[in-house]
């Protein structure tokens, strides 16, 4: 559950997202959807307004302690680390008393590689993988610390159509398996409608409509929504 109000790129935005929900933030470029996602993540900060995760206010909490996983459009994998070390990163930087033992981390990495269907790729470097594979690694890395919320910024934006479709279903499957709350940003309404339980349509820093794909298609709240999703 999150609340926002006034931000230069965002204005009077208020969203309530239930646990385990799969939500898309949909809008044209400049609509404020990425800003909204980055504020939820703690990578940007609002001038006013509140962000609440499961009853706990996190507005002033740094990104590192919000318990989120974030997937970037251009992967942002660490090029000097192997795939396995990328995925293990979140666990391996934990303070000693909280850090799982080495074999435990290795087991977790294997588990995640399997989840994103990249078994046996652990010793490769990101540059040796295709775009789709890299994004899978980024997803596995984001899930390593069991975040309560998974945030994805145009996760399929840099990939071609076929890979995009493949990854979409992988993401949906993972979301259902793990049951975590997922919020993703996209400018592609077909993608949003195909994946999300509910879609928030943004324009000019405001939320035009927040409803199920069916609800939006049946009763678009404004002429903007109607033209954007048709």
């Amino acid at each position: 559950m999150k609340h926002f109000s006034t931000y230069p790129a965002l204005n009077g935005v208020s969203l309530d997202i239930g646990p385990g929900e799969f939500v898309a933030l949909l809008g044209p470029s400049g609509s404020g959807k990425t800003t909204l996602l980055r504020i939820i993540a703690g990578l940007d900060f609002p001038d006013s307004g509140r962000i609440v995760f499961a009853g706990e206010e996190v507005t002033d909490k740094p990104a590192a302690r919000r318990g989120i996983g974030f997937v970037f459009q251009h992967y942002a994998l660490f090029g000097h680390m192997t795939v396995a070390r990328n995925i293990a990163f979140g666990l391996s930087i934990l303070p000693r008393r909280k850090r799982p033992p080495r074999h435990e981390i290795a087991r977790r990495v294997e588990e995640l590689l399997e989840l994103v269907q990249l078994q046996g790729c652990g010793e490769r470097y990101p540059a040796q993988l295709s775009g789709g594979q890299r994004q899978r690694v980024a997803l596995a890395r984001a899930l390593a610390r069991d975040p309560q919320i998974l945030l994805l910024d145009e996760p399929f934006g840099a990939l071609d159509t076929r890979v995009r479709r493949e990854l979409r279903s992988a993401l949906r499957r993972i979301h259902e398996n793990i049951g975590l709350t997922t919020i993703f940003v996209t400018h592609d309404h077909e993608e949003a409608f195909a994946l999300a339980d509910r879609v928030a349509i943004l324009s000019g820093g405001r939320i035009e409509q927040f409803d199920t794909p069916q609800g939006i298609q049946e009763a678009p709240a404004s002429s903007f929504v109607e033209s954007f999703v048709s």
Binding site: A41, G42, L43, P62, A63, A64, R65, R66, I68, G69, F70, F72, H74, A76, L77, F78, G79, H80, M81, F89, G90, I93, L94, Y125, A127, Q128, A138, R141, A142, A144, R145, L151
Partner: protein, 280 residues
């Protein structure tokens, strides 16, 4: 050869350009370098060895290594700090700081030396204060280290800033969302991403630190066996018409430059697979 590359010049033109480049490099780089070694060994290896193991020469070598060993690590730390601040953050006065970093490049080293005389010399701003506390900066090691730091400051920062800027912030943001602290970001993400630039900057700064003449010359006071670094020792010997000894010490400096280059090439070769994997 077929014309596979549309930008390729004709065979004669290419040959001409290659020869011209080789001739130029030979004239301004290879011949002088060769001359240094030829001159250093002109009276045989025994004379060369005697010249560099003579007490004043040894003291100059020790001092040069000591100055570099203090100045380069300090510049490494502050160079990284400055580059990080400039490349990864926005703040008021950023453009000014960027210009300031270049200052040592645009100021004559002699002026740099004089600045420290003005500040810490007997008649300088802090002169009386230093005299009272018995600290000697000018004509002593601290002054030479300060002058060297000043002159070599831009090398590391200048190498690292463009690299950090090019890489943007997304790797750091990713590490942040994975729970990394500021130090962990720097240590696990930012520095590994720029390590080659960093290494190159350190090698260049080190070569310059050991070779610096002007700034160090002003603050050193040229006390033989005490405050003469290798470049200063070369000058002293040369002025005394002791050519073999002068060139012997000079050959050590030249050797240092060659070792620096070889080290860099070796490291690039050793880590070529990682470099290739990263697309550098």
């Amino acid at each position: 050869m077929s014309r596979s590359n549309p930008l390729q010049e004709s065979r004669t033109a290419r040959l001409g350009l290659v020869l011209l480049a080789l001739a130029y490099v030979g004239l301004v780089l290879l011949i002088p370098l060769g001359a240094v070694f030829a001159e250093a060994f002109a009276e045989g290896i025994g004379a060369w060895y005697a010249a560099i193991t003579e007490p004043d020469a040894l003291s100059a070598i020790r001092l040069t290594l000591l100055v570099a060993a203090i100045a380069v690590p300090l510049n490494l730390v502050f160079g990284i700090a400055a580059a990080w601040a400039i490349a990864k953050h926005d703040f008021r006065g950023k453009a000014f700081l960027t210009t300031l970093i270049d200052l040592p490049f645009s100021v004559s080293p002699v002026v740099a030396g004089l600045i420290f005389i003005l500040l810490f010399g007997g008649q300088g701003w802090f002169g009386p204060l230093l005299q009272d506390s018995g600290l000697q900066i000018i004509f002593a090691l601290p002054g030479m280290v300060l002058a060297t730091i000043f002159v070599t400051f831009p090398f590391i920062a200048r190498e690292v800033i463009p690299l950090m800027e090019e890489q943007g912030k997304s790797d750091e943001e990713a590490a942040l969302t994975l729970g990394a602290s500021g130090w962990q970001l720097l240590w696990h993400v930012t520095l590994p991403n720029v390590r080659w630039g960093l290494l190159y900057g350190v090698l260049l700064a080190n070569a310059r630190a050991m070779g610096e003449f002007g700034a160090v010359s002003v603050v050193s006071g040229h006390i033989r066996g005490e405050t003469n670094t290798m470049p200063l020792q070369v000058e002293v010997l040369y002025n005394e018409y002791n050519f073999v000894a002068a060139f012997a010490v000079a050959s050590l400096l030249a050797l240092l430059a060659l070792v620096t280059l070889a080290l860099k090439s070796y490291l690039e070769w050793r880590h070529r697979d990682v470099l290739a994997a990263r697309g550098h």
